[in-house]
């Protein structure tokens, strides 16, 4: 019986591990804010998310152009139409699991949407927004 309980315990531990893809947001926040001097604000993140910027093609762009305004549902790539999975951590556990991937897309998407890279403060605000939705 003891042995059975022990195995059950191991089993549950394994299941717990498997269903829990690691969220890399806390780690990202630490590297963005090593001194702890910045305060990240989800509301500001949301505001920047929908803010329109003039694009090279004459049409205005925002993060919602591809990801949509509701973080809990699929987005659609503006050019190709390919589906982009939801950004909200609450509905998509596969999101924000690798700092490398997060950094790569921040770089690409900030440049494409805003014509410049995002600052540490801005990235932190976005991440706070993704985390809370």
């Amino acid at each position: 019986m003891k042995q059975f309980l022990f195995l059950l315990f191991i089993f549950l531990l394994l299941i717990n591990q498997a269903s829990h893809a690691d969220n890399a947001i806390p780690e990202m926040m630490k590297t963005l804010n090593p001194e702890g001097t910045l305060i990240f604000d989800a509301d500001h993140g949301q505001q920047m998310w929908t803010q329109e910027h003039p694009g090279k093609d004459g049409k205005s762009r925002s993060c919602t152009t591809c990801h949509g305004t509701d973080l809990t549902i699929d987005g659609k790539h503006a050019r190709s139409g390919k589906v982009i999975k939801p950004m909200a951590v609450s509905v998509n556990q596969q999101r924000f699991t690798k700092t490398k991937k997060i950094n790569k897309w921040f770089k690409r998407n900030c440049k494409w949407t805003w014509g410049r890279e995002c600052t540490a403060q801005e990235k932190g605000d976005f991440l706070q927004y993704f985390q809370e939705n």
């Binding site: 093609d57 790539h77 050019r79 190709s80 139409g81 390919k82 490398k100 950094n103 790569k104 770089k107 690409r108 998407n109 440049k111 494409w112």
Partner: protein
């Protein structure tokens, strides 16, 4: 003596029939892989699938020649990738993906479509795109623009998988085509 002659003759004959770029190993896997007639070798590299499959389906390396991939994968070209930013800030990743693309490029493949693509490029042309390859253009010249660019669910001939229902498997046969908002293709 006669027997040896026959053996030598058969050996020479089989050498002649092996495409000369081929190693014997590749030849035998080609010989016994019956899916080859269907198209191009499917994508087998997970990193490639993830990196190059985010904005559109991941094109099989066998759809372009090595030189064309090398051109497309240059650092500055990825930064302005047909108007999008596809830069890979990790140089190691870029090198790894390029090596995979070159290794499985059309000229190194036994798959039917890859061979047709290589052939149509004459060993000199370096196209910017798959849809610039003459062989690919010719396959689609009968399709009216209204079914492609004016079609919200296709948008461009570049998005092969919107019409070719088995594109992700490397199968492009015309009997597997279903054009969105139009239907099955029969001509």
């Amino acid at each position: 003596m006669k027997k040896i002659n026959t053996i030598v003759f058969v050996a020479m004959l089989s050498l002649l029939t092996i495409p000369n770029t081929a190693s014997a190993d590749g030849f035998f896997s080609w010989l016994f892989d019956f899916s080859r007639t269907k198209g191009v070798e499917p994508v087998s590299n997970e990193n490639y699938q993830e990196e190059c499959g985010a904005c559109h389906f991941a094109y099989q390396p066998g759809l372009l020649t090595g030189d064309a991939w090398a051109n497309l994968m240059q650092v500055d070209k990825l930064e302005d990738h047909f108007g999008e930013n596809a830069e890979l800030d990790d140089e190691e990743v870029r090198t790894e993906l390029l090596a995979y693309l070159k290794e499985q490029a059309a000229e190194n493949s036994y798959y039917k479509r890859s061979r047709q693509i290589t052939h149509s490029l004459n060993g000199e042309e370096i196209p910017e795109r798959i849809t610039d390859v003459r062989y690919i253009r010719r396959q689609h010249h009968e399709i009216p623009e209204s079914l492609i660019t004016d079609n919200e669910d296709v948008r461009s001939l570049s998005y092969c998988d919107t019409c070719h229902t088995k594109a992700a498997l490397g199968i492009y046969d015309d009997d597997t085509v279903n054009i969105p908002n139009h239907g099955v293709w029969d001509d």
